[in-house]
Amino acid sequence: MNNEQFEPVIIGFTCNWCSYRAADLAGTARVKYPPNVRLIRLMCSGRIDPTFVLQAFAGGADGVLITGCHPGECHYLEQNLKALRRTMLLQRTVAQFGIEPERVRLVWASAAEGVYLANAITEMVEEIRALGPLNWPQVAALNGKSHVLTPAIASVVVSEELVEAAI
Amino acid sequence: MQTYSYYPGCALERNAAVYHDSLMAVAESLDLTFTEVADWNCCGATEYITIDLIPAYALVGRNLALAAEQNCNGRSLVAPCSACFLNLKKADHYLAQSPELNRKVNQALAAGGLHYEPGSVHVKHLLEIITEDVGFEKVARAVKRPLFGLKIAPYYGCLIVRPVFDGTFDDAEQPTSMDTLMRTIGAEVVDFPAKAQCCGGHMTQISEAVALHLIHQLLKNAVDHGADVIAAICPMCQLNLDAYQDAVNKHYGTNFHIPILYFTQLLGLAFGFGEATMGIGQELVDARPALANIQVKPLKPVKRKRPSKTELPMPPKLQEVRSCLKNE
């Protein structure tokens, strides 16, 4: 595939209090960023289940953007730090699957940082574009013909390591 | 023993040779080793950049590349001349900031078989090394003959404190590090509000009137506050204030006769080196009469007059606040 024309699909997880509002603010301020990212709103970045991320990759996403409040500014005290730990372990885990860890990116964005979030999205899209489409043969093997990772299979894949990360 | 790469700059080869000799002597007293970057070239001063951009950065880039190459990675590069210091620091900073500039400059360097990775050489001014890396305590321990009674106006000039790239080590308007250093060697530091003003740089060559105005302002301010000697940290500042003092006197009908010494000469004297070793006498305005003011014992501190009943309190100095914050 010609990388010049490759349009990656990125799934972004946002927290209801900071980063989703930053995305709203980017809109209100008419800041432009590439349309490759599709956002899912959660209450908190601490809600991010590693399975979500793996499911996104299995379902055809080329990158996953995890966003939350800045450390110390979590609406739920410090759940964003749990997202941080999970992200770091996720990056290690996906690397073991042969996925470039850069495909999982964590960005802190406060409700005031619309421009910052938009810039981070633009940067990530360019980076993933440079990496090219995700190729994850392990999942194909696990699932047979299906390209969808069921939660059940995912939890097998995820292994104890992620349970540790979740804590 | 701390080791630094050393970039003397053209002026220290001849015009400011005493700066080089005195800083080397002082370095030894302070356990510092300065290894000269082999085959360094001119930094371009403020001239090359006015004609050509990429060659100007490539010229500085060669020095940075040589410093990095000569096994000095991780070591700081010390420049005693403020203009050289800024050129080296600014080139490193801008190359890191602008990928395009970096690409072009490295393409030029490649023609000479060199390469420079922005950020690999940490450029520092000599004053910064002595006040921050060595520290005042160690300087104080090296003092053998304190300069009691000598009234010094510490002159910083521009390029050591300005521009500000991710924070400089001292204030851009009213720096104080050399003040403290001069007090550490026993000297008395006079109030010198013009301490970071411009010496005129190359304007002596382009518009003497502008240059003389600036030099006059500096000399007048130091003399107004009772200084015996001005301490300089840059060869250009020293040259302008020293060599043009005559011209200022003629132009303004003044009679300034204030010697301009490098701060390292003053440190050297306090560390016990002889006047000859410190190159005293090389300056055009002879420093020896002023140095004769050095006392054996410290002057009695002038008692601050009791504030009158009506006097309103002054806000505390920012430094005091800062140190309070550090203690918290």
């Binding site: 289940d49 979500f52 409700a111 | -």
Partner: protein, 667 residues
């Protein structure tokens, strides 16, 4: 799962969405490509949020027996409530409606129409998949405790407290300093009318002090905030004042007798002195002094007790300790005010080095009849009247190195200063400004008045204030060096006194305070309001309101307006008696719980406890705030998060990636 009957509604939002997204194509696509997922109706309309748009949905719910609704329009933070209500009015459970954003996240941020339309399809597809898994919910209802906490006793807090207490509801007013009054109490005159600040403020302060519905907690700070709207639990530390307020008569003899004088950095802005036992100022409310233990001779050496000896009421109590108070309130108003920019940071203006450079707050004290000079405008020596005064605007404001905003009040304040100097000393006055900003009722008229008084106005930002003199006229003067931008020339203007109109900054601890109360600060550090135009005193956190300069720099009229507005919002809540809360909570399915207790320590609100008998974890719904961390962490999938269940998120993901579409869509 029986097939749901889903309606999809695409909003044009005028041209806001339709300008960048092909709404017709999008609607047609949703009706076709998502039909197999249950979409039975797909419509587009100019403004879905209008009553006609809402009627459209209501009609379909009734006539087409819709069981789910997806609206593709603006951010759920704007209109989720609108569409939920529309659905509820039509007889559908409101939580079966999903609002997806194709404005903030699509049309406003993208430019390519085809790409934007393609993304909008994915977003709708995600919404449709998600809404299938929605469950009908009932909002949780909580009672509203009618008591209110107001933090900060400046004019904003005073106004807010007064409005609420006058309506008959109880207010706890917490103030850090020994007296209420805030910055306004330090001022002499207020612009543009020049009425005396004390004359209009002190009566209000007195009313606060004696109000039957106000508990005044001065010299106190909030330590901890728990709970949620309607039912906050607030811990307040009332610092030991070492004065028994039951006995103290406020006679101030102790202050006279105290031998220890210290510079007062707060009320006198460092320009005057107070004693170690002190009231902030004579009209302080409450009238009781406090002992500053850090400076008290007795606390230092164990000797002195001059205050105790001379107190006839026997009110001095060196044994007093800090008190911890627990308050239960339903709503909280934060009116914590501002700090003045530390003008020493702009070294070129010489504040702290040059004696006769003053800050705006110092000058307020200098002009105040009750200030250190009894209102005489004099130099730092306390005696000499200046013959020329320079007033510098925008010190620390409109400057990327310090504060990248306009502090709003400085132009008017500087005009006021110019007038006062002129009126009281006849000195020559120079105002140095970048732009003159006098936008409010009667403000520009005041500028006209000061112009007529012969004050010089020099347009330009001052380069430096220096004591380096070049000419005999400059000797012993402060020289203001500036480019006079009216003539494009550099000028050096010698003056006797310089006043720096310093910026208003967020309180130094505003970040910690925001965190404590669960709200956020903007990039510049001001508390963020719920909506910058339409909801300026509410915050994203239910039950927490903001007023005055804590929200951003503003003058006294705007501050008072906000104080009253916040009070009105709180009174509205109190009158409701109870309010509906979003049912976003986590639940444990006991049959799946393995009792591993991993979730127990994760909860920031300690809402999860372990039931020893059943050996399962249990979530207390009243404490749970719905962050979902436990849901994500549960290794047995035993915890589900209402509205954000695994099924819902997974389904949305599935939809966003278009895995639900039979044939790949080529856009």
């Amino acid at each position: 799962m029986p097939q749901e009957r889903i309606g999809v509604y695409v909003c044009h939002c005028g041209s806001n969405i339709a300008g960048t997204v092909d709404v017709e194509e999008l609607t047609a696509w949703a009706g076709e490509a998502l039909r197999h997922r249950g979409v039975v109706v797909a419509r587009d309309y100019k403004f879905m949020c209008s009553s006609l748009g809402q009627d459209l949905i209501a009609k379909d719910i009734k006539e087409d027996a819709l069981t789910r609704v997806v609206v593709a329009a603006c951010s759920p933070h704007l209109h989720e409530a609108t569409f939920r209500k529309a659905c509820a009015d039509a007889g559908m459970n409101p939580y079966l409606c999903e609002l997806v954003s194709i404005r903030e996240q699509v049309s406003w941020v993208h430019t390519d129409k085809a790409a934007a339309t393609a993304k909008a399809k994915a977003v709708i597809s995600g919404g449709v998949e998600r809404v299938i898994h929605h469950a009908p919910l009932e909002p949780m209802s909580v009672p509203i405790n009618p008591a209110t906490l107001v933090v900060g006793g400046g004019i904003a807090g005073i106004q807010a407290a007064m409005e609420i207490a006058d309506s008959g509801f109880h207010v706890y007013l917490v103030e850090r300093e020994p007296s209420i009054g805030g910055h306004m109490a330090q001022f002499d005159k207020t612009f543009p009318t020049l009425d005396c600040a004390a004359c209009i403020l002190t009566p209000k302060m007195v009313s606060i002090g004696s109000h039957p519905h106000i508990t005044l907690l001065t010299y106190s700070e909030v330590e901890q905030v728990d709970g949620y709207v309607g039912n906050f639990n607030v811990t307040v530390r009332k610092k030991a004042s070492y004065v028994n307020s039951d006995l103290c008569t406020g006679c101030s003899v102790c202050e006279e007798k105290c031998p220890k004088s210290v510079i007062d950095p707060v009320f006198e802005a460092g320009l005057g002195y107070r004693k170690a036992i002190y009231r902030s100022f004579p009209q302080a409310v409450p009238k009781f002094p406090v002992i500053d233990a850090d400076n008290c001779i007795y606390f230092d050496t164990g000797k002195c007790k001059a205050c105790e000896i001379h107190c006839e009421a026997g009110a001095i109590d060196f044994e007093q300790e800090d008190q911890i108070l627990e308050l239960n309130v339903g709503n909280i108003i934060l009116a914590t005010g501002y700090d003045l920019f530390d003008a020493r940071r702009e070294t070129q203006y010489g504040y702290g080095r040059l004696a006769n450079v003053f800050t705006s707050l110092e000058f307020e004290r200098l002009t105040n009849a009750a200030g250190p000079t009894n209102g005489n405008i004099v130099l730092r020596d306390g005696e000499t009247t200046p013959k020329s005064v320079g007033i510098i605007h925008c010190v620390g404001s409109r400057d990327r190195k310090f504060n990248n905003y306009c502090s709003v009040i400085c132009c008017m304040q500087s005009l006021k200063f110019a007038h006062l100097v002129k009126e009281r000393t006849g000195a020559e006055v120079f105002n140095f400004y970048i732009d003159m900003r006098t936008a409010y009722k009667e403000y520009d008229e005041f500028y006209q008045r000061v112009l007529s008084e012969g004050v010089h106005f020099i347009r330009g930002r001052v380069a430096e204030v220096t004591d380096v003199s070049n000419t005999p006229e400059e000797e012993d003067k402060l020289v203001i060096q500036i480019e006079d931008t009216r003539i494009g020339r550099q000028r050096r203007i010698p003056v006797d006194m310089v006043i720096l109109s310093a910026a208003l900054e967020p309180r130094h601890d505003s970040d910690e305070v925001a965190h404590q109360f669960g709200i956020s600060c903007s990039v510049n550090g001001w508390f963020i309001e719920k909506h910058p135009k339409l909801d300026p005193v509410a915050t994203m956190t239910e039950g927490i309101y903001i007023a005055g300069c804590a929200q951003g720099p503003k003058d006294i009229p705007s501050t008072v307006t906000q104080g009253a507005a916040a009070a009105a919002r709180v009174l509205g809540r109190i009158q409701q008696k109870e309010m509906a809360l979003e049912p976003i909570r986590a639940e444990v399915t006991e049959a799946l719980c393995s009792g591993c207790r991993i979730c127990n320590n994760l909860c920031p609100y300690t809402a999860i406890v372990f039931d020893e008998a059943k050996e399962v974890s249990v979530i207390n719904a009243a404490l749970c705030q719905g962050c979902g961390t436990c849901v994500a962490a549960c290794p047995s999938n035993a915890i589900s998060g209402t509205q954000f269940s695994n099924e819902q998120v997974m389904a949305q993901l599935h939809g966003l990636l278009m895995l639900n579409i039979m044939e790949p869509v080529v856009s």
